[in-house]
């Protein structure tokens, strides 16, 4: 029981580490690294699902009978590319946020937002 599911439990712990980083850490780049951890652990879950003990890589060779399942590999190729696309967009947003707000800490940005809100209210009353 333990050996059979050990892989999945480690993958679950990795997923939760990634999720924790995304939620708890204020730094925007740290959140992106957390996101990569979270997505990579989902890929590891898919690939460990596809492995057959005693099977080799899904490239047809005449002397091999047992292959690992090729379908999750094709799915994960798509998911990796989707992951890098999201990361590239998130990083360009971080650059623009740094240029606009001057900082990449969540509290600092939130404080500046509330600041603008407060000024707008005073101007409205005046």
């Amino acid at each position: 029981m333990l050996i059979g599911l050990f892989n999945n439990w480690i993958v679950v712990i990795l997923m939760m580490i990634g999720l924790y980083i995304v939620i708890a850490h204020g730094n925007l780049i740290k959140k992106i690294v957390g996101l990569t951890l979270f997505q990579t652990s989902v890929f590891i879950f898919y690939i460990s699902m596809a492995k057959v003990v005693g099977g080799t890589a899904p490239i047809l060779a005449d002397d091999i009978i047992q292959y690992s399942n090729p379908l999750p590999h094709a799915l994960i190729l798509t998911a990796i590319v989707v992951g890098i696309a999201t990361i590239a967009l998130a990083l360009s947003l971080v650059i623009r946020i740094k240029a606009a707000y001057g900082s990449i800490e969540e509290e600092e940005i939130q404080r500046q937002d509330n600041q603008i809100q407060a000024d707008k209210k005073e101007r409205k009353q005046a």
Binding site: G4, L5, N7, N8, W9, L14, T40, I44, S68, I104
Partner: protein, 337 residues
């Protein structure tokens, strides 16, 4: 056995990433994390995935994060806001997932439903129907060609998104200024420039080998595109962005990205006009297997073009933004003291 060791290493690196304050160390560790997960995929016989994860996960994403770090500063402030509700939420989702794993088929068992329903047809019949040894490429390019088309559009969207966010109207830089930059770069990185001059042709050739070798071994459009882009990025880093812009002009790269997606779509349209369904390569030429080969070759070529040009677009815009920021800072420093 190997995978258990690799997984524990991954766990150690992940925990270290949580505790690290210095963002630079976090990126270095995420590079190691990418390499480790890529070697885990090799241990799990996922050859193509290891290829892509190494090239993308360990290479390009570390590179892009590095360029961003030099603009946004290295230190992360120490106050960890709301750790406990986050921990609570994470523990609940983790608990639900662990609860979910209890009924899963054991790791590597051959009788799991995954190996008995859809997969056997791919393994047994793909040689007769499509005729290429690498089953993953045959699934990617023929059985589920529309998935790869969607994925290509995702990469194209990311490229256009980065263009929309970071692209600026370029002022033509005077010739002599480029020469000045070139000289200072030359003096700083003498050894590296010579080595890269030797290495660049090899990397580009290797990218083309990976591109056309996708049918027989690990490789294919994505991996080739990323390696090609990595070579161009290496050139741009060491020979200066302005010289690289002259070698590879940006409008042409955007054109290639667009034509890559169009080529992929046209392969589908041609098979549609010949009477088959959208991505049915059997109608591309009179013999079915030749049609499959032709279709997969064209699709891999389209994917390679688009991925390479989008990665180049993303890197050039990131580095360009950094260059402009540094020049603004320098002007600012010259005026203020």
């Amino acid at each position: 056995m190997i995978d258990i060791v690799l997984l524990t290493l991954l766990l150690v690196v992940a925990i270290a990433i949580i505790r690290m304050k210095d963002l630079f160390a976090v990126i270095m560790l995420s590079g190691i994390y990418g390499l480790l997960s890529a070697s885990f995929f090799v241990a799990m016989d996922a050859v193509d995935v290891a290829f892509t994860e190494a090239a993308v996960g360990a290479g390009i994403s570390t590179l892009l994060m590095l360029v961003v770090i030099t603009m946004t500063g290295r230190s992360e402030n120490t106050t960890r806001h709301k750790p406990f509700p986050a921990l609570l939420l994470v523990v609940i989702t983790g608990g639900l997932l662990i609860y979910g794993t209890l009924d899963m088929p054991y790791f590597g068992s051959a009788d799991a439903p995954v190996h008995s329903h859809v997969a056997p047809r791919y393994i047994n019949d793909s040689m007769q129907e499509i005729g290429i040894p690498n089953i993953v490429t045959s699934i990617l390019a023929s059985y589920r060609a529309f998935d790869t088309f969607g994925e290509l559009v995702v990469i194209f969207t990311a490229g256009v998104g980065v263009l929309a966010l970071l692209s600026i109207v370029r002022r033509p830089i005077k010739g002599d200024k480029i020469a000045a930059v070139n000289d200072s770069m030359h003096e700083q990185h003498l050894v590296i420039r010579i080595v890269t001059k030797i290495l660049l042709p090899f990397i580009l050739l290797f990218a083309l080998y990976v591109q056309f070798h996708g049918d027989f071994g690990p490789g294919g459009g994505f991996q080739a595109g990323v390696i090609f882009a990595a070579a161009i990025i290496l050139y741009a880093m060491l020979f200066g962005l302005s010289t690289a812009r002259i070698v590879i002009n940006q409008a042409f790269i955007q054109l290639i990205a667009a034509t890559g997606v169009l080529l992929y779509g046209c392969v589908g349209l041609v098979s549609l006009l010949n009477g088959g369904n959208f991505f049915d390569y059997n109608f591309l030429s009179n013999d079915a297997i030749a049609g499959q080969h032709l279709g997969i070759l064209l699709i891999e070529w389209a994917v390679g073009c688009t991925v390479a040009s989008v990665m180049i677009i993303i890197f050039f815009n990131f580095a360009d933004y950094r260059e402009r920021q540094l020049s603004n800072e320098n002007q600012h420093n010259q005026e203020s003291p």
